[in-house]
Amino acid sequence: MNNQLSFPAIVIFIWCVIALCATFLPLHPEVIILEKILMPPEWQAWLGYDDLGRLIADRMIMGARTSLLVAFCVVFVSLLVGTMVGILAAWFGGWWDNITVFVIDIFIAFPGILLAIALAGLLGPGITNAVIALSIVGWVGFARLARAQTLTVKHREHVDAARALGTGISRIAFRHLLPLISAPLIIEATFAIAGTVIAEASLSFLGLGVQPPEASWGSMIRDGTRYMLVAPHMVLAPGIAVFLVVLSINLLGDRLRDKMDVRLG
């Protein structure tokens, strides 16, 4: 495979760097300049101004921070919880497995984003609550995948041999199960990051995520829709950002899958 820097890798690299540096940059995302309201891009403000005369470029950067923070927190929590639940369900089987599968089925049958909206509404708006709501929805996919993968690996002879040696469940999980099922889980995680970026934007779009005056790509799009015909740059900038980041993550995920999905003998 080629190790050259590809377009998706560059996009994600920029996204991460900008998001991580956002705190240290001299940004003024909340400074209102009334005479510049809805002004299109110009020399000092290369993405223009929004409906309150704030710099869209600066708000975009703060939005990148929000999306990165939410995406990684949610995926991290979901991956951890989901994998654990999935492995335990497959390992112990019986009624414990039946209950887990039942719960997973219910979660999957219910539209995820709708549940997240309901939860975010219930918990009240805010970024922490958005993370909690999305995690509650997010672990299900990982649990299902981890369970299925564990079921196939569980009956391999080296697992039986480890059991026969008297090895405990935690050591078996970390040395015999996780290393062998990690590849599909990591790939699933990349796609989950893409999904979460969109979900966060959706929640913020509905006003359930980040609260004003803080910036998020979703809330920026919401604000922009009202002025779409007068100032299309307000929607286009965050819209294109979401589009590019999600596309890039998906492309990278695909590539990762091709690389990692070598069946081990």
Partner: protein
């Protein structure tokens, strides 16, 4: 008899230039009309590639570098591809090792045979169906009129191989290439298939190129034998001459690697002692062990019946003793082994080990007790975690049982264990895929020995290995038994291995033990009809002249 197939200086290589793998490296042989020519060799020696070269069905990476294959004087390598299609199936037919995967699962047996009939004989409709039924009858499938419309999964392994043979016969070939056609089958089925091939050969007069690694099978069917080693034919001889006095060193090595009672007696005479560890009190007592699996059906998973995998097995093993469990696939041998180890919890019955009832204990106590009984599996490829280093694999049991104070102490023990099984300490920083099948099996044995077991369940530990490697592993197991006083529960389907290694043998059939006793009693005066049938099916090397 005139020559049917002539192979001259055939070279088939994988890759190019210096690094090319010379799978077949300049072989010559001739097959006469109506004879059975056996190509004998161990895995990786180039037998199958030879067959595929003749058919011109090589994988893309392989190239025929030189040589010719002449069928009735016509060089097959000069034919265009479309003409080759008439040869395949029409003049030369082929059957493969694995009948499970050689048939198309979505077509009926009749459709698959009919395809060949249509291609090579132009038969259609009624005539095709009649001929298909005729062929199914010829290969001994009962109720052919009904079974013609059944799918492969409705047939057993032996039946599938019969259907494969029927497909091969459909084109009325002059040569049948059989690539290890009985290796995946049980001995009793193997005997039936070999008889069938012999009968069909007499009826049709076709020649058979039979590829095998089994000396016993060879002695039963061959007219001529060619021994292949590392891409070359090292010896060609008539069957009688070959079995009377093998010429090449490698051929003699194959014979000496065969396990047998004679070999064991000879070794016993040499060492002058037998089983100083053997005691009278039983180490393990299995009492009426049952493992039943529920069959669930319907929406609410109602239990409608049970698969009685192990159905009331009673057996005793003493310290330092080797007890062999013999039986065909599906007889419940492996399930029984796992039931003893408590890897599968038995449905009923008792497993008394060293005065402790294993079926009653759970949790931490069971984990501690596990060090006493270990297991070595059949497939050395899947029985080790590919992501773990040898050091970690062998260390695992010590960690679980709390043997050794620190990593350094445990590593010293790993070194010792590796030396004990004939490997070098520096091997420990490698991964499983860097080792051969025999070496992996040694590592598995070292892993089992790490926790100082008293009993090792050996589940077909040599079935996946070549004969010469098998004999090394069996010798290692014997030596360890002598040194450490281990008891073995040796699960196998190979009678000659039993003769070589076991003291006591139990014959298992359909989840039950039908006969048990000392090796000499059971194997030489079998009383139960199933044991008799099993033993008579084992292909043996016969002395010259008789057949």
């Amino acid at each position: 008899m005139s020559t049917l197939l002539e192979v001259e200086n055939l070279k088939t290589w994988f890759g190019e230039g210096e690094n090319a793998i010379r799978a077949v490296d300049g072989i010559d042989f001739k097959i006469s009309q109506g004879e059975t020519f056996v190509l004998l060799g161990e895995s990786g020696c180039g037998k199958s590639i030879t067959a595929l070269s003749i058919m011109r069905l090589l994988p893309p990476a392989a190239k025929i570098k030189s040589g010719s294959v002449k069928l009735n004087g016509k060089n097959l390598f000069e034919l265009p591809e479309y003409a080759m299609r008439d040869v395949r199936g029409g003049k030369i037919a082929m059957i493969f090792q694995e009948p499970q995967t050689s048939l198309n699962p979505v077509l009926t047996a009749g459709q698959q045979i009919g395809e060949t009939l249509q291609c090579h004989k132009g038969l259609k409709g009624r005539a095709q169906r009649d001929r298909t039924i005729e062929l199914l009858n010829a290969v001994g499938i009962p109720e052919a009129e009904r079974r013609i419309d059944e799918y492969p999964h409705q047939f057993s392994g032996g039946m599938k191989q019969r259907i494969m043979i029927a497909i091969a016969l459909a084109g009325e070939p002059e040569l049948l290439i059989a690539d290890e056609p009985t290796t995946a089958l049980d001995v009793t089925i193997q005997a039936q298939i070999l008889q069938l091939l012999e009968k069909l050969q007499q009826e049709t007069g076709m020649a058979i190129l039979f590829i095998t690694h089994d000396l016993g099978v060879t002695s039963g069917i061959a007219d001529h034998v060619a021994v292949m080693y590392a891409g070359k034919i090292v010896e060609i001889n008539s069957r009688d001459a070959f079995f009377a006095a093998p010429q090449h060193e490698y051929s003699r090595h194959l014979f000496s690697a065969l396990p047998s009672r004679e070999k064991r007696n000879r070794e016993m005479a040499e060492s002058g002692k037998e089983n100083k560890h053997l005691s009278d009190s039983p180490l393990l007592t299995v009492n009426d062990l049952k493992v039943h699996y529920p069959i669930r059906k319907g929406l609410f998973k109602k239990v409608v019946g049970y698969v009685r995998a192990v159905d009331g097995v009673t057996i005793e093993i003493r310290k330092g003793q080797t007890v062999a469990i013999v039986g065909e696939s599906g007889s419940g041998k492996t399930t029984m082994g796992k039931g003893i180890l408590q890897l599968i919890r038995p449905t009923d019955g008792g497993v008394l080990f060293d005065g402790r009832e294993l079926t009653q204990i759970t949790g931490e106590e069971l984990r501690r007790k596990r060090s006493d009984i270990q297991i070595v599996f059949q497939d050395p490829y899947s029985s080790m975690n590919p992501r773990m280093m040898i050091a970690d694999i062998v260390e695992e049991g010590m960690l679980a049982q709390g043997i050794g104070k620190n990593r350094g102490e445990r590593m010293q023990r790993v070194d010792k264990l590796l030396e004990q099984v004939g490997l070098k300490p520096e091997h420990k920083y490698r991964y499983p895929h860097e080792f051969s099948g025999g070496q992996r099996q040694r590592i598995c044995i070292a892993r089992a020995l790490a926790v100082e077991p008293k009993l090792i369940v050996c589940d077909e530990p040599t079935s996946a290995l070549d004969v010469s490697v098998q004999s090394q592993i069996l010798e290692l197991l014997k030596e360890l038994q002598e040194r450490l006083g281990l008891a073995y529960l040796f699960i196998t389907h190979n009678i000659s291995v039993v003769e070589y290694i076991a003291h006591y043998v139990a014959v298992m059939y359909d989840g039950k033990i039908v006969e048990q006793g000392n090796v000499d009693e059971v194997l030489y005066q079998p009383r139960h009809p199933y044991t008799q049938k099993l033993l008579s099916a084992v292909p043996r090397i016969k002395t010259a002249g008789r057949r």
